[in-house]
């Protein structure tokens, strides 16, 4: 088990190496070159020249690349051209919000998607099945940012059930420890602060969950339908086991295998969705920050985000593989 984790983490190295090479090329190919990436559009020719000298842009390309990699290893992602603060600092501040949001979305997607997909399969061809299949089709086809506006208009502006933006009501004087607002609230026993932060997560969480939810419903349904036709389910029935035992032990456990795999593949989509969702809901996470960076051509921030995503993706899929091996003895890791 331990060796498996270490091996997988070691596999990260070539991936990150390749990614750094791509990013290096990308930075140099950007319109205006890397000095624009640092300075933005503003700098005078003298400043540009100074930067070029400072960054060693006149040196051989390999030296430049080595320097670039050394900076990345030291977690120096440069300075945001928009806020003039180190990218790493900015990210650390905003990361907790995005984590809260994506966890919320995942919990919703998994917690609703698996039971719904299962029920749809059991009631195949009935109303619930048609509704969930149709609903998940539409869920996949709605642009996320449009759904965000629709939710905001209905549930916040018209019905007033949920706040329309932000992570927490600014009038609440909450203690900040980890910047995970819900977690902080629980930690300091400021229950109202935690509840309010949670309340702020509902609409963006629901929006962000739409696509993963749709995908999980579809995969669960298809997988349950397939498992129901398996011979071993027939064997279980032939043993006279109660229906609930057959379902839990024989159907669901096997049907979960493809669902678990798909959850790992969903992370990339979740982070894309976070960029759009956070923007619409004025949610101060990495997503909204990156959306700003896109419109302001804040390249160091974009580069940092891409690196973080690659690492997160690999880690999440490591977790997925580990949990997969817990369910399926055929792929036990050593």
């Amino acid at each position: 088990m331990f060796r498996f984790i270490v091996r997988r983490l070691l596999q990260l190295i070539p991936t990150l190496f390749g990614l750094s090479l791509l990013l290096f090329i990308w930075l140099r190919r950007l319109p205006g070159g890397p000095e624009t990436a640092i300075l933005g559009e503003r700098g005078t020719p003298e400043m540009r020249a100074a930067i070029r000298r400072n960054m060693g842009l006149d040196e051989p390309i390999l030296v430049q690349y080595a320097r670039f990699v050394r900076r990345l290893i030291r977690l120096d992602l440069g300075t945001s051209t928009a806020t003039k603060r180190p990218v790493v600092t900015e990210f650390l501040e905003r990361f907790p919000g995005t984590v809260e949001l994506t966890v919320m979305a995942l919990v919703l997607a998994i917690g609703v998607g698996i039971p719904l997909g299962y029920l749809a399969a059991r009631r195949r061809g009935r109303l619930l099945d048609h509704l969930s299949v149709g609903g998940s089709l539409i869920g996949i086809c709605i642009p996320v940012f449009f759904l965000a506006y629709v939710f905001k208009a209905i549930f916040s502006e018209n019905l007033g059930w949920f706040p329309s933006s932000g992570r927490q009501d600014p009038t609440i004087d909450a203690t900040r420890i980890t910047n995970f607002f819900v977690f902080d609230g629980l930690l300091t026993r400021e229950w109202d602060a935690a509840a309010d932060a949670l309340w702020h997560l509902v609409l963006p969480g629901l929006t962000l969950a739409s696509i993963p939810l749709a995908i999980i419903v579809r995969i669960t349904r298809a997988s349950v339908l397939e498992v129901l036709n398996e011979d071993f389910v027939r064997t279980a029935e032939a043993k006279g086991l109660t229906e609930s035992t057959v379902r839990r032990r024989h159907v669901l456990r096997n049907a979960m295998l493809p669902v678990v795999t798909s959850i790992g593949l969903l992370t990339g989509g979740l982070l894309s969705g976070a960029v759009l969702t956070e923007t619409v809901f004025g949610f101060t996470g990495i997503g909204a920050f990156v959306a700003d960076a896109i419109s302001q051509r804040d390249y160091p921030v974009l580069m940092g985000f891409i690196l973080i995503i690659a690492v997160v993706y690999v880690l999440v899929n490591l977790l997925v593989d580990l949990s997969y091996s817990l369910i399926d003895p055929r792929v036990r890791v050593r």
Binding site: T15, L30, C141, L276, L302, I309
Partner: protein, 320 residues
């Protein structure tokens, strides 16, 4: 035996018929799939939506009552700060923020939307098929170099897959600057890894299949096998995936426009750009967002319905 001789003869004829049926059982995979497709209501609905969409995309400019770039509303002084008039007798869906006829823009916009979807899917398909095909062939040829090439290419593809599609598109758009071509390339690149993996996987499983083994043992040469057996059989899943990708491409293009990376020239309407533009006027005229959004959703639904139905029709597990 109370049956009249004539009737008995018919029955025996029937026997002959039953025995002769053996010969026509080799119905082709495609015809069989098409037959199943025709019976699937979801496929019919999807195909109908797409038919309407394509027709509108082709003849839209002739159908539109007004020019999509004619700022009628401004000329007639209807557009003032904070005011965008809604529908009236001549303008069924009202005006957009520049006083252009929204209905005409919607109709004419179908063409550009279809263009973005098709071109970007073709880009993704071509590049993906090339990478996947090379990797699949390399894996099939085997040997140390074959395996090395295959695993290197696939590492690269996995890396692309790891990146959120939007970020990938954004980084490409950042390189190329905001334009229509950018959107198409960026959205196309996003679907490269999907096609590459699909084609490689399909090729490898085909290569390991019994009929290829049979062909090899009969002495058919490898390139010939690839052309006559492996490629045609890998084609079906690729076509299905392309149909599904068209849906996501249209949605993805809209998201790029939303982030300000879309086509800056709005004289030629495109639904994604229209939707992105409408955000600023949500308080005044939410309809401006709703119409293009609905158009995008329905079209994407059409592609998805048809694609899923095709997948089901071609799925050998369901073909009993």
């Amino acid at each position: 035996m109370t049956i009249a001789p004539g009737k008995k003869k018919q029955k025996i004829d029937r026997l002959a018929e039953l025995a002769a049926r053996d010969d026509e059982r080799g119905v082709s995979l495609w015809r069989e799939a098409f037959r199943r497709l025709r019976r699937n209501p979801a496929a019919i609905v999807g195909a109908a939506i797409l038919a309407v969409f394509v027709i509108v995309a082709v003849v839209g400019p002739f159908l539109a009552p007004y020019s999509p770039s004619d700022t009628i509303g401004i000329r007639e002084g209807l557009i003032r700060p904070g005011v965008i008039p809604g529908a009236d007798g001549d303008h069924w869906l009202g005006y957009d923020h520049q006083g252009r006829d929204e209905f005409s823009r919607l109709i004419v916009g179908a063409r550009q939307t279809l263009l973005v979807g098709v071109v970007s899917t073709l880009i993704g398909l071509a590049v993906g098929a090339l990478i996947g095909g090379v990797a699949g062939a390399a894996a099939g040829l085997g040997g140390r170099w074959g395996r090395w090439l295959d695993s290197t290419l696939m590492r690269f593809i996995d890396m692309m897959l790891a990146m959120p599609s939007l970020l990938l598109a954004v980084s490409i758009a950042a390189l190329l600057g905001a334009s229509l071509t950018t959107v198409m390339i960026a959205v196309g690149v996003v679907s490269v890894p999907v096609f590459a993996r699909l084609l490689r996987g399909s090729m490898i499983s085909q290569a390991n299949s019994d009929y290829v083994l049979a062909a090899t043992s009969l002495g058919v040469r490898k390139p010939k096998i690839a052309l006559t057996h492996v490629v045609p059989n890998s084609l079906a899943p690729v076509i299905v995936q392309a149909t599904l990708t068209l849906a996501t491409a249209i949605i993805e293009a809209a998201a790029l426009s939303f982030l300000g990376l879309g086509n800056p020239d709005t004289s030629v309407p495109e639904w994604g750009v229209m939707l992105a533009e409408a955000q600023q006027y949500l308080d005044i005229r939410p309809g401006l967002a709703v119409y293009p959004a609905l158009a995008i959703i329905v079209t994407a639904l059409g592609f998805t319905l048809l694609g899923e139905a095709m997948r089901e029709a071609l799925d050998p597990k369901l073909r009993k």
